[in-house]
């Protein structure tokens, strides 16, 4: 653990960070009247229906502000704008206590134990080490990817981790993965609702999180948030964003991203150049793969319900119920490799590959100076928001490709895909909802399902050969029957009603919604039915294989280029890479 990572000095720097954020936001706001009007309008709209005393109070204040804005002098408006920006910036700035961090970064194991035996919680708080079951957890949670390379990069620049997002467990699991990989902690913006979640808030306050209030929709708040994350990056704080913006409702990997926070990296990098102290930024896509997802039932129901489309924040799902978390964790602890966090090859902000020394290389393996991308025609580095929006968009596409390639296929995904395909052939040419209505009408003989699973595995293996996906150990090594068995075990006892039911005449297909959820993980690869492609993305998009390993360039050979952190040369190379990890190989 590198305790020199800037996050450990956060409290000392916080005043200055907030001041910088406020100054920049004010400097960039051309028309305070417009900005505050918009804020007041959006806030009034949000608060109008509420009866909570706090909300009513806020609403009155906003209405008063809106009425008086027109009469104010410009100086007065600027003053009010500054006040608002300050308020938001302080609200966002988290409270980071390095002592608590040291504790809580090791907290997943003890808390896991505590949740299994809640009465021991007192003991955990007194002495967490007593309950640590790290060895056990190491088999359950795998961390893969070019870890040695990442450890080298975080010494040379700022890492921005951009993982997929399925569950409220993600930030905790990811924090744990960083710790396991020997990587310094990262700050991240967690939804403010997570801070009120009785279970998760415990971690949120202490993992270096800052608070994002996703209910607030106006631009002033978004500007403060974006500037805040940019200032942190500029100062070298490794950061974690979930660019999907929200947990994947469908269970599918993200194919379209929200790029606001990702975009803040471009200005941050340019500013380090302008100040004469270049600090490179490395984007690290990652996939977080679960054998079963804690909130699967709520998420897929939300995806399927029309009303759910506008529901960005769910406050009452499984992650707020201690009992569900406990049974989820019990399941997790009973199964090997139940969670796999897989880091992808790091990229520079312009989508170029980087080596362990932090140098960028274009698609043909030529070294390229990342600073050249932010230079104008006269060769001067300039901050240019319109340009950076486009860079961010292209980076987003690159990140999505990495997600697809580093998706780890697990038994539940394959078995769900095989079962769902059965359902579809049972009701040919039916639409999604007709297929989903076939609850408990179809029973497939075990051997037939196992054969379907094997056939899918063959296709997946072919994809893996091309570097387009990664097979989990269970899927790679198991027979069709083994895989079905493992999926049955994983589903049984966690989800509230049976997903698949083992009966004398075969496997009954019961919870079609959940099978849809788990099969969606493979939709982008064309291995499962793809009805979840976001608008503007063709369905069944062919996943692109990775670039071939860098050809030897005519430049002087880089030192130790093919060193420990093997560049990804097909799946075999990638697996070798995971062996370097703290707990990747066994």
């Amino acid at each position: 653990m590198d305790s020199r990572a800037p996050i450990f000095g956060f409290n000392d720097a916080r005043d200055e960070i907030v001041r910088t954020v406020v100054d920049r936001v004010l400097g960039a706001t051309r028309d305070p009247l417009l900005a505050m009007n918009e804020a007041a309008y959006q806030e009034a709209k949000r608060l109008e229906g509420s009866r909570k005393p706090q909300d009513v109070r806020e609403l009155t204040e906003w209405q008063r502000l809106a009425r008086s804005l027109g009469r104010m002098h410009d100086a007065e408006r600027r003053r009010r704008l500054r006040e608002l920006a300050e308020e938001y910036a302080w609200d966002i700035a988290g409270n980071f206590d390095p002592r608590v961090y040291q504790l809580s970064s090791r907290l997943l194991p003890p808390v896991v134990s505590a949740l299994l035996a809640p009465r021991k919680l007192v003991t955990v708080v007194r002495d967490p080490r007593k309950l640590i079951s790290l060895e056990l957890l190491a088999d359950r949670v795998l961390v893969q990817g070019p870890l040695a390379k990442l450890r080298s990069l975080v010494q040379r620049g700022t890492a921005v981790y951009v993982p997929t997002h399925l569950s409220n467990m993600d930030s905790i699991v990811f924090g744990y993965a960083l710790e396991r990989a020997g990587l310094p902690p990262a700050t991240y913006g967690a939804g403010k609702n997570l801070f009120t979640n009785p279970v998760l808030s415990f971690f949120m306050h202490n993992l270096g999180a800052y608070r994002v209030d996703r209910r607030i929709r106006h631009n002033l708040y978004k500007d403060v948030l974006k500037t805040y994350s940019g200032v942190l990056l500029e100062r070298g704080y490794h950061s974690l964003f979930f660019p999907g913006g929200t947990r994947s409702r469908s269970g599918g990997i993200e194919r379209k991203l929200k790029l606001g926070l990702v975009g803040s990296a471009f200005e941050a990098y340019t500013r380090t150049l302008l100040s004469g102290r270049e600090r490179r930024i490395f984007f690290v896509p990652a996939t977080i793969n679960y054998l079963i997802t804690l909130e699967a039932e709520t998420l897929i129901a939300d995806f399927l319900s029309e009303a759910g489309k506008g529901r960005f924040i769910i406050e009452d799902d499984e992650s707020s119920r201690i009992g569900r978390i406990a049974s989820f964790l019990r399941k997790l602890l009973a199964m090997n490799a139940a969670v796999v966090i897989r880091f992808s090859e790091p990229l520079d902000p312009f989508g170029n590959r980087v080596d362990e020394l932090g140098r960028s290389f274009d698609a043909r393996g030529r070294e390229v100076d990342p600073a050249s991308y932010v230079k104008n025609q006269d060769g001067a580095a300039v901050v240019d928001a319109a340009r950076d929006v486009q860079y961010a968009r292209e980076l987003g596409e690159e990140i999505c490709r990495a997600y697809a390639r580093d998706t780890v296929v697990m038994a539940t995904h394959v078995v769900a895909a095989a079962s769902f395909a059965r359902l579809r052939s049972h009701a040919p040419a039916a639409d999604l909802f007709t297929v989903l209505r076939q609850r408990d009408v179809l029973t497939v003989p075990r051997d037939d399902l196992a054969a379907d699973v094997m056939a899918l595995c063959e296709r997946l293996r072919a994809l893996e050969q091309k570097g387009c996906i990664v097979l989990g150990e269970d899927v790679r090594l198991g027979s069709g029957g083994d895989i079905v068995e493992r999926a049955l075990r994983a589903f049984a006892g966690y989800h509230s009603s049976p997903v698949l039911d083992s009966r004398p005449d075969g496997i009954a297909i019961c919870d079609t919604n959940l099978l849809f959820y788990y099969q969606n993980r493979l939709a982008a690869h064309g291995v499962a039915w793809d009805v979840i492609a976001p608008p503007g993305v063709p369905s069944g998009l062919q996943v692109q294989p990775p670039l071939p390993p860098r050809p030897p360039s005519s430049l002087p050979p880089p030192l130790d280029d093919r060193g420990a952190a093997s560049s990804r040369g097909g799946a075999a190379g990638a697996r070798a890479g995971s062996m370097n990890g703290a707990g990747g190989g066994r």
Partner: protein, 310 residues
């Protein structure tokens, strides 16, 4: 800073288009380098001919004007001398390979450049070369590229329109190349103005849907870069695609027709690939199926039936 100011525009390709683009940029006062392996006795002032990729890459705005089948090689050689500060645009009509990659995709694959764009629209090579009034379209997601292209090419006689839909413009240019074969064919087969207009409008509509399936905006195909470009082919006797279409309507075989057109017609390999693409994406590819019938020597009546069935 060197004594001589850095050249502002580098044009790669010494064919008709490359020369015309170099002359047009030179006319606006830009310092122009033209990378060409040929001799150009007709150019005595304005563009400076260079033989070296490193030399032409000294310009920050690079314009690729080579045939689409030569684009990848040219870009790879050029890429050795580039970095992320270059702006790269191209005037290449065509889509590469079975994957139907656009030339700007190739730029990203073969060079470190990210700020890319394309030129298109109805402007003709002779208008550009002689400085007669006309209009072209620059497609790029980067406002910087629009600004640089406008600065380098726009003049009293040449209007540069811009669109952020780069992919739409590239697809429009390529698909118009295919549709122009149909225009030549219909004219020669005796289609009257009403029928011709109907065919063109239906064809553009079909092409717009196909482009949209590839991720482009439909309206780009319906605008200057698509419809506008295709209208220019109506009265053009010299356009290779039109000549090819006319020859086919006279009952020539494809080989004879290609010989008559005398220039590489990119549409010939492209048409069947567009048909396959439309089929794979489940969009109506009837127009391109009709064009495929034309290439296979179909009679005008069959082609017309095929068109109206679409």
């Amino acid at each position: 800073m060197s004594a001589r100011p850095a050249p502002s525009v580098g044009v790669i390709g010494g064919g008709f288009w490359g020369v015309a683009l170099a002359l047009a940029a030179s006319r606006t006062g830009a310092e122009v380098l033209l990378f060409s392996r040929r001799e150009h006795p007709q150019i005595n002032d304005g563009p400076r001919i260079v033989r070296d990729h490193a030399e032409v890459a000294r310009a920050r705005l690079l314009v690729i004007a080579v045939p689409s089948n030569a684009a990848r090689t040219a870009l790879r050689a050029l890429g050795d001398h580039m970095d992320g500060s270059h702006l790269v645009i191209h005037g290449v009509r065509g889509l590469e390979g079975e994957a139907l990659k656009t030339v700007s995709d190739l730029v990203r694959e073969e060079t470190p450049a990210r700020r890319v764009g394309a030129l298109g629209g109805p402007i003709q090579e002779d208008e550009l070369r002689e400085g007669r009034p006309s209009a072209m379209v620059c497609g790029s997601r980067f406002p910087e590229v629009h600004a640089a292209v406008t600065a380098a090419f726009q003049s009293d006689g040449l209007r540069v329109y811009t669109t952020p839909d780069l992919q739409g413009l590239e697809w429009a240019s390529a698909l118009v190349g295919c549709l122009a074969v149909g225009v030549g064919f219909a004219e020669q087969a005796g289609a009257g103005p009403g029928l011709l207009a109907a065919l063109i409008s239906r064809a553009v509509d079909g092409a717009a849907r196909i482009a949209a399936a590839a991720g482009a905006e439909e309206r780009t195909m319906l605008g200057l870069g698509g419809y506008g470009d295709l209208l220019a082919s109506i009265r053009l006797e010299s356009r290779p695609e039109v000549i090819l279409g006319k020859a086919l309507a006279r009952g020539r075989t494809l080989d004879e027709a290609v010989a008559e057109a005398r220039l590489r017609v990119e549409a010939i390999p492209l048409i069947p690939r567009v048909v396959a693409f439309a089929r794979a994406r489940k969009v109506d590819g009837g127009v391109f199926e009709a064009l495929e019938t034309i290439l296979q020597g179909g009679a005008p009546r069959t082609v017309l039936d095929r068109m109206f069935a679409a």
